[in-house]
């Protein structure tokens, strides 16, 4: 589990080191974290560390394949603020996971992961609803 904590700590440091919150800087940091977490899924000796690495890896991949996916250029105005807000919030959750891992507080870790999923789903829903308000024909299925 220490490896995961180290990875999260490095990520937090990298985010703090950037002078201002830039989307590309955060996404690069997240991608770097995801690649390292994917390795952990296969090499970690701890089942719990594997579980966490697997979840976070899949979570970050979902972010990139859905929330940051290519979309028509003329509609970027809807996405940009939502994406930035999402990144800001998700960045704030990493220190929390790290501190709960250090304290080995499993219930709290679970709660933070649940918050992450809620944040992801809410962001996707917000964007889709905003689409509809702009006259799109999309519906939430």
């Amino acid at each position: 589990m220490q490896n995961i904590i180290n990875l999260l700590e490095n990520t937090i440091k990298s985010i703090k080191d950037s002078e201002r919150v830039e989307t590309h800087k955060l996404t690069e940091t997240l991608r770097d974290l995801q690649r390292k977490l994917r390795k952990e899924v296969f090499v970690s000796k701890s089942k719990e560390a594997r579980l966490l690495a697997f979840f976070l890896n899949a979570y970050i991949l979902s972010i990139f394949s859905n929330l940051f996916i290519d979309t028509p250029d003329d509609e970027e105005d809807i996405l940009r603020p939502q994406r930035q807000e999402f990144l800001k919030k998700i960045s704030m959750l990493f220190p929390e996971i790290s501190s709960k891992l250090k304290a080995n507080n499993k219930v709290e870790i679970f709660n933070i992961l649940a918050d992450m999923v809620a944040l992801y789903a809410e962001t996707i829903n917000k964007i889709n609803l905003k689409d509809m308000s702009k006259g799109g024909r999309h519906e939430i299925h």
Binding site: K39, F42, P72, I124, D131, R137
Partner: protein, 228 residues
């Protein structure tokens, strides 16, 4: 409306049978819908796996396909052809043929990504205009779920889907299911017809399945590969 099976290829077309012989796999698989299947057809493999006459084979296959698409167009007057991207790999089963097909048919194409969560990202290409008639082109039909999901995206934008053309119909309910949604499923070839060909039946349908493939120990990819 009652579903009536419709296949476009001439049963005597030996050339297309070659493609099916190369693409049909005699083994056991789990399909993307989770169902087990002994009936697997891989079009990309059928094209790329042929080391002899690969270019001629592809060219001939596309010629026949284009002819059939044009015949369907004469009936429905499509505005565009839609390819389906199920998981970010490009048009399912058509990765190597999609551009060739729409360029030769001379119809504007689009890619539908029905399983993306942002609705705006489900269509690649010019936005669908209300009333546009779109032909969905895919490799294999099983129960029709993927085609239906793609059609739903097109309907969301106000487009129309009178029919879908697949290379191979496993005849596991897709035709009937899609007809309930007013989409006619048309195939180049369906399972029961291919089974009537003795050579294909012997190789694909009647032969014992190569289940040994499933008994091989699974080896995780090396870390170098994972990193890539």
């Amino acid at each position: 409306m009652k579903y009536i099976k419709r296949e476009l290829l001439d049963p005597a077309d030996e050339f297309c049978l070659k493609i099916f012989k190369a693409g049909l796999k005699n083994s056991e698989y789990v399909l993307s819908n989770g169902l087990p299947s002994k009936d697997y057809f891989d079009l990309d493999e059928a094209i790329l796996g042929r080391s002899e006459n690969m270019f001629e084979t592809t060219e001939e296959f596309v010629k026949r396909l284009v002819q059939k698409v044009k015949e369907l167009d004469g009936q429905h007057h499509f505005d565009r052809i839609a390819f389906i991207d199920k998981g970010g790999q490009g048009p399912v089963g058509l990765i190597f043929l999609a551009a060739l097909i729409y360029m030769t048919v001379r119809k504007e194409a689009l890619i539908i990504r029905p399983f993306k969560e942002l609705h705006r990202s489900r269509v690649k290409g010019r936005p669908i205009r209300s009333g546009e008639k779109i032909l969905i082109l895919s490799d294999v039909a099983t129960e029709g779920n993927t085609i239906f999901s793609a059609a739903q995206v097109i309907w969301d934008f106000g487009g129309k889907v009178p029919c879908a053309l697949v290379f191979y119909d496993r005849e596991q309910g897709a035709g009937e299911n899609l007809m309930k949604k007013d989409i006619e499923l048309i195939s180049l070839r369906a399972r029961e017809t291919l089974k009537k060909n003795p050579e294909i039946a012997e190789k694909q349908y009647d032969a014992p399945k190569k289940i040994k493939e499933l008994e091989r120990p699974f080896v995780f990819p090396t870390l170098d590969l994972i990193e890539m």
